[in-house]
Symmetry: C2
């Protein structure tokens, strides 16, 4: 069969959620025997899961010492935004250049859904992280560059989620973000890759500045 998942695979998925959502605390040590007992699995399977988590950048392993959950630092968060700015900017450009019919339809539908949600919960911080995620996720898919898709959707976004969950950086930029999303999709529809890239980069950089401001207040 094809869709089979190995035990190590399931452990990986479970642990990924727990780390992203902070049930396993950032910076904490991860003990193989302890988790093995908890999930009633062998250390082998668990180790495989841990290694995959390491390759996601969610864990750090050191020889003969073991694994720790990465800790969340302001620097790490800002660095992440810079990488996203570069990659998602490119994704936007490529999406605009390809411009497959299905992608355009899907993007437009998504935007409409978000608009309705905005009408519904007007004023309140409508823009759930999930809605924002949806947007960025789909754009990347539309880039049609497998490496880019994999890097963002299967790797970096988990780190993004981890920061959002735990530092609670849900952007309060609500419907301003919505308008920005709207313009980006228009540029893609128009096949204007250059503009699409610029707008996406500006969009992400705005989020970054926003967070930078918050952080400087906290300290």
């Amino acid at each position: 069969m094809s869709g089979t998942r190995s035990l190590a695979d399931r452990l990986f998925l479970t642990l990924r959620s727990e780390i992203v959502e902070g049930h396993i605390a950032a910076g904490s040590k991860v003990s193989e025997p302890e988790l093995a007992r908890r999930f009633d699995a062998s250390r082998s399977s668990l180790r495989e899961a841990l290694m995959r988590l390491e390759s996601l950048g969610l864990l750090e392993r050191r020889v003969n010492v073991g694994a720790r959950v990465v800790d969340l630092t302001e620097r790490g968060l800002l660095d992440l935004y810079d990488v996203r700015e570069a990659l998602e900017g490119m994704a936007c450009r490529l999406a605009a250049q390809n411009r497959s019919e299905e992608d355009l339809v899907e993007l437009r539908q998504m935007l409409n859904r978000h608009e309705q949600q905005e009408e519904l919960q007007k004023g309140t911080a409508y823009f759930q992280p999930e809605g924002d995620f949806d947007f960025h996720f789909r754009i990347v898919q539309a880039s049609n560059n497998d490496l880019l898709i994999d890097t963002l959707c299967n790797k970096l976004y988990y780190r993004v989620r981890m920061y959002r969950y735990q530092l609670g950086m849900a952007s309060p930029r609500a419907h301003r973000a919505f308008r920005e999303h709207s313009h980006i999709i228009e540029a893609i529809e128009a096949g204007d890759g250059e503009l699409a890239e610029i707008l996406m980069r500006r969009h992400i950089r705005a989020s970054r500045s926003n967070i930078e401001k918050k952080l400087s207040k906290t300290n």
Copy 2:
């Protein structure tokens, strides 16, 4: 002790070279028992090495089937260039913004070394892939963004190397590349992040176009 390397670690490094250099053919199946015998190691250690190779994007593993070396496709190569354009462009921008004294000195020294080499082997395809690699590598280091550095230097560059070794895409753009490198470093020295990014992106895109042209002839 700190610098200790595990067996799995050494296997990983060895296999990485063999795959990058094509001694283990692209697209070929990788058998755990076979390699375990060959290196006189247990399958556990070997499996760990394979998993790390997978996270580099050099191997693809499927449940209950095993691992295959990725195959090299034109599309994959071009995709890789688009991702590099985005990331290294950003690296350049950041390097120009940071502009630490040591980085500037190192970059300048490197450029001088390359210039001498160019004088030496004038006309001939001087620009060894290694020289080019040096350049891109150091720029990324100067970005001071750990995530960016890790993504490029510890992950993507091995794929780049693999394509270069096996498709032999050593750019024949020789001293033209050198001039471009030179201008990029000048922009970084001047602290002009925007220009530095533009130049780097153009530099990479030129390589990409060059390869695209070659490929269209071959087919």
